[in-house]
Symmetry: D2
């Protein structure tokens, strides 16, 4: 789960009001959406975004997601999502995440998501380059 020696993408934004709930804090499902935005940013920074991955005939289907909530976050706070590839296999990969309250400098949520590479007709496929190479650093 450690990001040591990995390429780590960081993306920054403010907590939106719509992402809070009646407890006055960010709703726990919002972080799952932020994880996804974290891996979108990862692909953009690597130079091969997910939109082109899809246009080339592939999907990265979500097989599993896991989140641990350590500290709450509130509206307006600046968020940093840190995302890296923690496991790369030929047909599946796992992204790991840290969601940081940038104002307070603390990690609030951690998580992972596992994905299967498929073609648009649903068959499991080898992960194409350059995505495949992302497991090699």
């Amino acid at each position: 789960m450690s990001a040591d020696n990995r390429f780590v993408a960081e993306t920054t934004f403010h907590v939106r009001y719509a992402e809070t709930d009646a407890m006055g804090i960010v709703h726990h499902a919002s972080y799952i959406v932020w994880f996804e935005e974290g891996r979108s940013a990862y692909a953009r920074m690597r130079g091969s975004d997910y939109a082109s991955f899809e246009r080339n005939g592939y999907y990265l289907t979500v097989a599993e997601v896991h989140a641990r909530y350590l500290h709450p976050m509130r509206y307006g706070v600046q968020v940093v999502v840190r995302c890296w590839v923690s496991v790369m296999q030929s047909r599946a990969l796992t992204f790991a995440y840290e969601v940081v309250n940038a104002d307070a400098g603390i990690v609030c949520v951690t998580g992972e998501s596992r994905h299967i590479c498929t073609t648009h007709d649903g068959r499991v496929s080898l992960i194409p380059e350059p995505w495949r190479s992302w497991g090699r650093d």
Copy 2:
């Protein structure tokens, strides 16, 4: 805007926690999603659901949406969404909505949405039957 002599579909559900915000009330964008679920229920009750409308090659593109917020709603309350066709034209139609707090018996939000019928390649199209006929009652 009145529902007089119109077929009115009612759909009932509870406010979800995720639909609230840090003010402790339902977030205003949640009602836009409920309007959509109201027109989904309308089509199901009419016997020709929107999933089959799409499978037949059409989309009902949202051109405009308008909501007026009269009273707040809270988590757990039972909601009734009332939906009817207020304007039917050959290529466009307007749905109208009332969102009712069923526990308190009051109308909390009203709105309308205007839609254009298109084919999947984006061309404006005549609204097919039986949808077209829904303007005739």
Copy 3:
């Protein structure tokens, strides 16, 4: 994780269009919201809803969530969320979930969420009755 001999709450609704994504299927974060609606329904069926739990001075903070995606779901399909208490401790509990495509009769997503009972000022608290007793069947 098995629901054997447990009280299982079932709640039924249709997939909303807003819950789908550009892959044409239900977005994976939507299931996290459905899990929450599953445990809301659980509490309502047990006769002590979460709204009154909060009014009595408590929160059930989400500490962890985990979902496994087995089969995709699409707009308009009828969903059943099955929810039960899998672990009950004095200050924490775990709910387990199965999300079923009721039209096809298959389990599409499974998951769990772990929660800590706190007072509104954030201190960890004993889970009050009758919630506490839900671990005894």
Copy 4:
């Protein structure tokens, strides 16, 4: 509705995958959330963010929202939300919005939202400074 001579706040982000729907485009309710993020950015740029507005005892309740959808947007596109105050009254104000596809340089959605200033116990209130002054340019 024109932004002539007004202070206009611009905020930029990418379309998130979760914000799309099964038509392959951004879901129409997502823009309502972006409008809100547009006015959050407006307040931040003006030097008095909405979080402190709330901490000072006020809410800006949404009374009405209206959106016109001119062109669809897709996952990954860079979005600019332009937001300005179009009407300022003593107890109410109206924000106007343009949502621009920054890659294509076209306005995709326009809208307005009307808000009432209240105290936390729900009474209508004068809009406090410096928010009040935002109608004077």
